[in-house]
Symmetry: C2
Subunit: 491 residues, 2 copies
């Protein structure tokens, strides 16, 4: 769970494809963004990205989302980083440019975490000339940044552990899956694979073995589908079957000695090769504009992510947690509801009446029990939530019987939420007849439970957020006289 | 479109993960399989694969499917290949074993296409000692073979063009995407990438940079999602934006010279490294059994493929065509319906009657028009089909008016399908009253049209199959006397 205070304002330095993707992801999470990009077309570039990002986000996420964050175009790095909780650098991949940006940042903002989007430069090199190098780390995202959950976090020699921890928490709040690359190596993890594949693909095109379209088909009709949901090792573990991973490696290991890949060299990027790739790419994809391809890609990714989310697997798990956070954040951003909650209404049935001619004692508690159910329902503890194993159990009850009521009388309960904290919830019900006569009060302590474990547990983020919102509204109400009272004789 | 005669019996030599996957894909397509596998556990292995494959297939495909093909366990290669339209070899990856299998095949079956499942051996080497080497090609599938559409087709020096063409058609019938690898190179296309990534992954584990779980996450939370729907080049084309592919390469090309990947060597597969990988894989995945992981993988793949199918993109296009073929195949395998089709019923409305006191002339054609609509509907030309742009237009009509009918009389039309061929359909309607009096006959020639192009076109596979089935049933009925008659006076 995230608190409300983690990440409220992010500075982004550089508004290209990656910087703009960061801007989009932050804004959609309801976070204010200060963007510094000297390009006079910066606003137009961001607008174009936001069109795609908003569409994709709306299709990806269900339920309540926080209001979109505000975007401010800063006219200097100093102005951009002012008041930011996190500074994301996404300028071109040149060490000197990046170091110059850090210099400007350090002149304007102390302590704030600085995350570089570099896909290849070592953080130790990035931080070499910094006054506070401990706050610099690499946070390497993947395009489209507003959709793909992976972010590789890499510290340099001088990066602090707390910077990595803090960054992990922040990127989780942004709906991402932070992968801590524990050893600082060039290209980190994912891009080493991308680079190996890219190199091999260049050879295949260079040697005329395959066109760009054939290479793409070899990926997306086959192993690309596998890798959307399991990686390399888990895929091979499954393929290896019951015999296990060691057997699989022993069986396929020798292939590595075969002349399968062009290991030793890189093709020269001659004009001829560059043009051949560009021409093949046109033949393959020019039926669609880049804008159309972006939207096709986004829709495909959304469709895949939603399926994985329903199956709670891989990147879908990240989307699921993100959605819960967004829903909770949306609840928190709503105005506080102040009136008491009308939580139960009935007419006293004939069979609730006892030999004294009035509603019998335990029916008062039944009314309060229904009222508690309604509060839970409004907080999101509905059938689906309970079926998934979460609920509230009443652990303590204090009733004051004040007046009697006869069969056929319309009665109702108003509920005041006295307190909500972690697993605990304290409710105060008042039972009235329709003339406004107070018939009884009930004070109840409830505990959230994980019913699969049969023990107390934290409610899910959305429920916690809704309860907190309801409780905040009632915090301005006077504490009832009867609240906190123990059973006893007035002395 | 496939004809009914393409692929009816397949011989599979070798029933491991890949051979068993072929068996499953063939059986689910309604194709008879002769399997030769000397392993005494062969039946048990196939059973296990079929459990998974049937579940996945049922979730992947909607609508009618042909009855599952029959599986016969052959006790020799000679017996397995007898009567087969295609021979698939899936024995261990050793040239001598494979060549010995081809020797046995050639002793028993002439001419039949032989497809090797090898993932790395060159077809020229495979066919080196064959008497009929022109019929040998590589057909390299991807696990799980019953779900992933890609099959790489690679010919050797002596493979005939017609063998490649014929194999393409056969694997399309099996619901696959044949990718013709035009240049014979070791590991073909896809496995060159897999090998490059595998080698890089072994280094990362060997050097302690990342665990198997971290590597898998670096794939499936990021670029793996991209590659399920676009390949390498199209992804980069989009990322490069408006500036185009040449600009993208120029920008990122220099990275290839950086020391990003361990180019020159392969880590030794020492016991220590093998055990480290096995241990890490256990830590990552041992919470699930292999059987559970297979089903998780299959369900994920099905979910992704179904989404891509709905979006008619990439591998989803293959699934869509496959489904149409399966539906059509299911129709073809049903018994022929012989009775005439009751295509219209009504009671003659008052306002259909003219000044002569009987049903007026053009209402006869209205009855036949409704009858034609019903025939189209039964053939699958429903609202959705028409909305998608396909329909039949009547191009010729011949009516014989035989008797009159009065207002309020119940009447009906029986329809005989005289002929269906390609774009054309010839119908013969008979209009009766309920006493059985023949009131009129209508003979109609219809043409299937693509309404977006406003021109004649072939009907979709399912419609063609349904019509062919209906026509086949009516082929045994006598040709009506009035059929083929032109308007004229008897001489």
């Amino acid at each position: 769970m995230t608190s409300t205070n983690d990440l409220q304002r992010v500075a982004v330095i550089g508004g290209g494809v990656i910087g703009g993707g960061w801007v989009a992801r932050c804004l959609l999470n309801g976070i204010t963004v200060n963007l510094y990009d000297p390009d006079p077309n910066a606003a137009r570039k961001i607008d174009a990205i936001m069109v795609n990002a908003r569409m994709a986000f709306a299709k990806l996420v269900d339920g309540l989302v926080p209001p979109e964050g505000k975007l401010r175009f800063a006219d200097s790095i100093a102005s951009a980083v002012d008041g930011a909780d996190l500074i994301i650098e996404a300028v071109p991949e040149r060490l000197d440019i990046k170091q110059s940006v850090y210099h400007d940042i350090e002149a304007a903002a102390a302590d704030t975490l600085i995350a570089s989007s570099t896909s290849g430069i070592l953080p130790s090199d990035l931080q070499a000339h910094m006054a506070q190098p401990d706050r610099l780390l690499v946070a390497h995202p993947f395009n489209p940044v507003y959709l793909l959950p992976l972010v590789e976090l890499v510290g340099g020699a001088k990066t602090s552990h707390s910077a990595i921890d803090k960054a992990s928490q922040m990127f989780r709040q942004l709906g991402m899956h932070p992968l801590h690359v524990r050893t600082e190596i060039p290209a980190f993890i994912a891009d080493r694979f991308l680079e190996a594949v890219w190199r091999e693909a260049l050879w295949l095109v260079n040697d005329g073995v395959a066109t760009t379209a054939e290479i793409d088909d070899a990926i997306r009709y086959g192993f690309g589908l596998r890798w959307a949901q399991m990686g390399l090792f888990e895929t091979y573990r499954v393929a290896g079957g019951e015999a296990g991973m060691a057997h699989f490696i022993a069986q396929f290991g020798p292939c590595l000695q075969w002349p399968w890949t062009k290991l030793t060299d890189v093709p020269d990027l001659t004009d001829e090769l560059v043009n051949r790739i560009a021409d093949q790419s046109d033949a393959q994809s020019a039926a669609y504009s880049i804008r159309q391809l972006e939207q096709i890609r986004d829709d495909n990714l959304v469709a895949i992510l939603r399926q994985l989310e329903q199956r709670n697997w891989g990147a879908g798990q990240t989307v699921r947690s993100w959605q819960e956070q967004l829903n909770a954040s949306a609840i928190r951003s709503m105005p506080d509801p102040t009136p008491l909650i009308r939580s139960y209404e009935t007419t006293v049935p004939q069979d609730w009446v006892d030999y004294n001619g009035h509603m019998t004692e335990h029916r008062y508690l039944e009314c309060f029990s229904h009222a508690t159910d309604e509060i839970m329902r409004q907080a999101g503890v509905d059938d689906a939530y309970i079926a998934a194993g979460g609920s509230f159990f009443t652990v303590e009850t204090h009733i004051c019987h004040i007046d009697e009521v006869m069969a056929g009388a319309p009665i109702y309960v108003d509920t005041q939420i006295l307190a909500v904290a972690g697993k605990k919830m304290r409710l105060f019900h008042r039972l009235y007849d329709t003339s406004g006569t107070l018939l009884a009060t009930g004070e109840h302590m409830l505990l959230h439970v994980d019913m699969t474990q049969r023990r107390a547990s934290q409610p899910k983020a959305l429920v916690a957020a809704k309860l907190a919102k309801m409780a905040a509204g009632h915090a301005t109400l006077a504490m009832p006289d009867a609240a906190g009272r123990a059973v006893g004789m007035t002395r």
